[in-house]
Amino acid sequence: MQQEAMAREGSTGLPAAEFRQGSALRQLWETNLEVFQRDRMALFGLIVFAIFALVALFAPILAPNDPLTPLKNNDGDWIKDALPYWLAEPGEDVAEGYTNDFLLGTTNIGRDIFSQLIHGSRAALLVGFSAAAAVAVIGTVIGLLAGFYGGWVDSVLMRAADVAFGIPFIPFIIVIAAFFDPSIWNVVIAMAILLWRDTGRVIRSQVLVIKEQAFVSAARVSGASNLRIIFVYIAPSILPLSFLYGSFAIAWAILTEASVSFLGFSDPETISWGFMLQDAFLSLALTRGAFYWIIPPGLCIMLTVMAGFFIGRGYEEVLFPRLRRM
């Protein structure tokens, strides 16, 4: 499977260095284009991310209320547990507790659920993309160094990967969260420390194949330094793989952030979808069957995680064409 991908990657010729550099980057761009043109699911994922990114960017404008402030009605009473207006039977008077102002109702202390949902996209995308970037960059650099240098560099880095594989992921984040102030960045740090392991291993094995190819020897003969060979000649060929693992990492990061917030290890001042679900869980929204509170955050998590999966699969199908035939 990997050999076939390699054959694709290495198939360009090896003219002068400057031209190769340009062509490698163009090849990378073309791979990215191919992923989203060929694969409708990957395109769907991209659109989902784009929409949520816009929502996150304009959250303060889009959200009708402050997500953290409990709201009062004109009489000065807290608007607790208000049902969304569309849950009222048609023709029925909008009874007490039903409100036209809140699309998804309010929480048990009177916070606007819809506004929380909109603000939650910020934490999800921030954690998702920064953790994915950290994982992809660290994994790629470690894979490149281990694969290119071999010897003791390789041994040390791959044993480090073994250690990272032996550390339980969620428990590790919980322990980290216990020692540092609660913050969504704990998830990003923990992911950066542990999850480069898969990316690093796969990229290392690809580099082992690439570095035997003619254009690498040619570069070496022409006097290019090791770092130049690694980052200018080899890196562009394996970058699509980094994107593949990066896309999956976005999905994992969003899921993980949600889980950690649900367990109560996130910053209570930052609204996230996981925090909303924890809030609902602890205030017995389940026993009341408050679906308007429980379902929307979960759906948002699912949509963004699926977007990451779909884009990752899109890369997989372009990079490993045998999967596509199946």
Binding site: V163, G166, I167, V175, A251, L286, G298
Partner: protein
Amino acid sequence: MNRGVITYIAGRFLQSVMVLWIIVTLLFLLFRLAPSNPLASYIDTTFTKEQEAALLARFGLDKPLGEQYIIYLLNLARFELGDTFSYSGKSVLDILSADLPNTIYLTLSSLLVAYGVGVLGGILMAALRGSLFERVGTTFTLMTRAAPTFWVGMLLLTFFAFQWKLLPSAGIAPAMVRFRWETEWDKLLSPVFWRHMILPTFTLAVYLHGLPLLLMRSNMLEVLDQDYVTMSRLAGYSEWRVMIQTAARNAMLPVLTALTLGIGYSIGGNVVIENVFSWPGLGRTLVRAVQQADYPLAQGAFFLIALIIVFMNFIADILYSLLDPRVGASAQAQVS
């Protein structure tokens, strides 16, 4: 079993011990060099300097770091995990050994359901490849992998426990009645326990079945392309016999390796579900210990989970090398 294989296993075992030693060392550093004092939750503002010093001495925290580290390693090697802060009079080992079986029951039962459904589903998807059913089924499986497990658990709780009142919502026994099972056997033979296990098991299986299903499906498709499958088709065997007896048996091997790895990682990943269902296992204890700043307990729970993961990684490696002759050969070449 030839000598090469034994050398390989011994090498892998040593490597696992090394990995565990590094993890344990990192764990030690993490807990000792943490910004907050490990006894912060213990020490009252009313404590005198002497009382504080006595307390530090009791937990061995007055000794130099190097000496603490040696004591810590020796204690771990003897499975001596110390005393808890928050449960008075109980040792960490007492608590963890009560939790571990519950975590294992939940992990194994959910993996059993997930891999049963996943393997059969994968065969079905491979047999129906290209059909609408296959596309919808695969997309649905991807969706279950994208849904946060705790959310699936919350939805199932809402319907089955609260709306329809069919199943218990939390724990391993009713809270009102004082349930005491003398032995683990009594617990395992008790229908009450199994009733409590249904919802968490099912929740985990919803998530876990995706990996074996997708893996089985793509392995099946790969195997179905092979000559020996074509041969048995030509020999006139029925399609189902070709599918099950010839293809599925060969496609199973990578799924078995995934199952072995899955046991380790599920035990670490159950943390969230154990908290949703108040399941008295390692994960819930870990979260509680961290919340109550009970460092010995948190450290012990983390160590136990890491130990299981490293051990299962080791087993999966061995299994993989024994089942796949190519890996075995190259592994032997590496060792020798």
